[in-house]
Amino acid sequence: MDDLISEFIAECREMLEALGGEIVAWEASPDDRARLDSIFRFVHTVKGNCGFFDFPRLEALSHAAEDALAEVRAGRRQPDGPLVSAVLAVIDRIAEMIAALDAGEDISTGDDSILIHALEQGAETPAAPVATTVAEAQSKAVAPRTIRLSVELLDRLMSGVSDMVLARNELARRLREAPGDVAVDGAFERLSSIIADMRDAITRTRMQRIENLFVALPRMVRDLSAELGKQVLVDIEGGDVELDREMIEMIRDPLTHIIRNAVDHGIELPAERLKAGKREIGILSVSARQSGNQILIDIQDDGRGINGKKLVEKAIAAGVIEKSDASDLDPREQLALIFEAGLSTAKAVTAISGRGVGMDVVRSNIERIGGIVEVDSTLGAGTRMTLRVPLTLTIIPALTVSVAGQSFAIPRSAIDEIVRANGESVTLEKLGGAGVATIRGRRVPEIALADVLGLKSDIPELERSLVVLRPAGADVYALAVDRIHDHEELVVKPAAPAVMATGLYAGTTLADDGSPILLFDPAGIAQVGGVKLESHDRAARIVDAPIAAVEVDTPVLLFHGLDGGRRAMRLAIVDRIEEVPATAIRPGAGQLRVQLGEAILPLAGVNGDLPSEKVRLFRLNDGTCEIGYAFREVIDLSAIAHDIIPAEHPGEVSAVSLVAGEPAELVDPHWLFSTFLTAAERLPEQPVCRLPADDPWMQNMLRPIVEAAGYRVVSEADEYEVDLAILSEASSGDLTAARIIRLRSEPDPASAKDETIYRYDRAALLTALKPAGAGRR
């Protein structure tokens, strides 16, 4: 029985966890049947199970909620605010009871009648008081499925594993020097991969998606706004940004405080909002993103904004600033006053945000972890708070490059693309000593990393690689490096002040071999390198130099496919354009084939109806094989002069690009050939041999030998491309066969040139059969 109960508890818990977001989402769109159903399913499951276990309180609660939700499902009732609140209250109570059950407490006493009453239609009783226990109940519910570890222990684990990696590398070096024993090498390889996995796992234990912090926000805002009689919509973005676990804990309280402030003081009551010409529903957007070596969290509301002048008056009254200084403050400095201790612009101290501790505490908390809080506000239009916290211990994907023999890392988030300096679409020019790279028609400033660092690179300029960088929110520039090495996920630590003072680096990290690597700050490099960054993408695009562009760009044939789609085919692989009667196209060996003169080719591009009379097709040639590609009409000869946006999945279309001013799909010839040719050759698994069906000798005497040699035997009726055809002397040639063996009935050849084989010369026959069979394997 105990087992069953714990299973029930675990199941409820899982459902509760999954349900958290659903409820609020349901409230936002009450017509969302799927959400309603999943909530209904939960209460239904609870009801069913607790009848069995004899938990009358749980049963009564879930029963009442089920009834109410069933009404909604049947369309007899609208899911209005009070109902949602009541259902939420019931679910919270259920969560509390389940937590109590798990702790072995008695849940038989207690009164749920208020909650049940609230579920009834037209009920007046507000279910709000319950909301305050929500966070507690939820955390209780989650707790037993995780364990708490001190970050210190994790640190120790991590440094232990890192040491292990170093020891492994040392061992690897020794193993390379000493004469190898295969068994030892194998064991070491295994150990090595286990250590790598473990390091990965340990590193990740310290990292958490910021989502974990954000996931509780919608519910918090919902409860808060219900309490205040406001309507607030929360918009969350960037939950996949990873942050050190400790960092997440450190910003939890400041973030909560800022959001409470925004809902409490920022966003107005619906009536006020309407009066101010805004939508009734206030919007609170919370977003996280990584910018250079910082994580930025923006909390933006469209509320009343902060009145800087009032703030100044208050600050003078509170003695924070002197009257004489007040007039010197610019608007930004006025707003910054909210971070001073003892200032609050709210008329009344409310239970929600004004508790004596204010933004000064928020600021000091954030500053303690090396972060900054910024505020920006427009009176009447809203407020934006930005938390900037350092990237400390954040794993960032990086590209390692080297210059003058030394390795460095570049954060991958800043990398736009990588091109070779001597690539076809790249030209380098010097203008008054400054480098300008033209990459596919786009001019970007170019600097050499070696120059920025004051190192001497012995790689000629044209053999370097260009890393096109886009520092956060700024313009692109190209950085010439000697060599590109690898993509690595690095745990970045802040560097010592003396190193950071250069402005070039965002931190240090350890490479896999245990040696330190410096991580660049792309914006810093640009600054030190003298590149003027403009805040927006204004890279000079060449508008009227198509002639130059065509020369370096890939020429393509622009055409309409059978389905009407605008596509482009690389000109180089189009052998010629053919027009065939529709009757030349027919299915054969599992796919459409087209007969072109004496060849039968697989036919691609049939994604619409085939024209009834004449079909036009490209004859594509990869050098050895050919396939046909049907289309409706050719538009023009053009060139890809713009950025190529690759397709997400491999398929007939590899990318989309602007061709002759309009988007066109780029056909992927590799995919065509790999798909259509393998299909063509996969069908006959074995080599195929054609024997005349009407020749009894061949069918009865020869066929067993041919089949024993590994061939599949077909007759003329089958339209396969065969590997071998065996014919008698007299019959005409088989055009589709790769090889032909002719048999003669006389033992002696008729002439010296005669390559026929005597029909009973078994050895010669087997020898002739072998090559094809061997070639196919």
Binding site: M158, V499, T502, L510
Partner: protein, 145 residues
């Protein structure tokens, strides 16, 4: 127990570092240079998966440049504001007890020494100059700024 001092030699001079601040004494082998950093930053090195910023004490004291080309160098590892530094010294000699409070050195020292001096302390081995590690780490440039 009296405070302990680590006696090291920098530029041929015997000086003392507060032993409590020194985590360990290591032999550095690899040194990754930091382009564009202040000259007294000799580079980066790794110690048990931590990155050490290596400080060339000779340069910090404007006494010249430590020759790191021959490979292994002795260094004292200290922690300052959460960062780990390795201070390259000529030699690590001994640990001794402090017998007195630091007293001002009244005679004129070299400019570099003057900057990092915390005064003179008495030990069993006679008077010795006590070094301010933070000043040693920050070097000339930061001081000037």
């Amino acid at each position: 127990m009296a405070e302990l001092l680590l006696i090291v030699t920098i530029g041929g001079e015997r000086v003392a570092l507060p032993a409590a601040a020194v985590e360990s004494v290591v032999e550095l082998d690899t040194l990754i240079p930091v382009p564009r950093a202040a000259p007294h930053v000799a580079g980066l090195s790794a110690l048990r998966s931590r990155v050490l910023t290596v400080i060339d004490c000779m340069r910090s004291l404007e006494l010249g440049v430590t020759d790191c080309s021959d490979g292994i160098r002795e260094a004292a590892v200290v922690e300052l504001d959460g960062h780990h530094y390795a201070l390259i010294v000529d030699l690590v000699e001994d640990v001794v007890e402090v017998l007195s409070e630091p007293a001002i050195v009244r005679a004129a020292m070299g400019e570099g020494w003057e900057r990092v001096s915390k005064g003179m302390v008495e030990t069993e081995q006679g008077p010795i100059l006590l070094i301010d590690i933070a000043a040693l780490v920050s070097g000339v440039e930061v001081k000037a700024a």
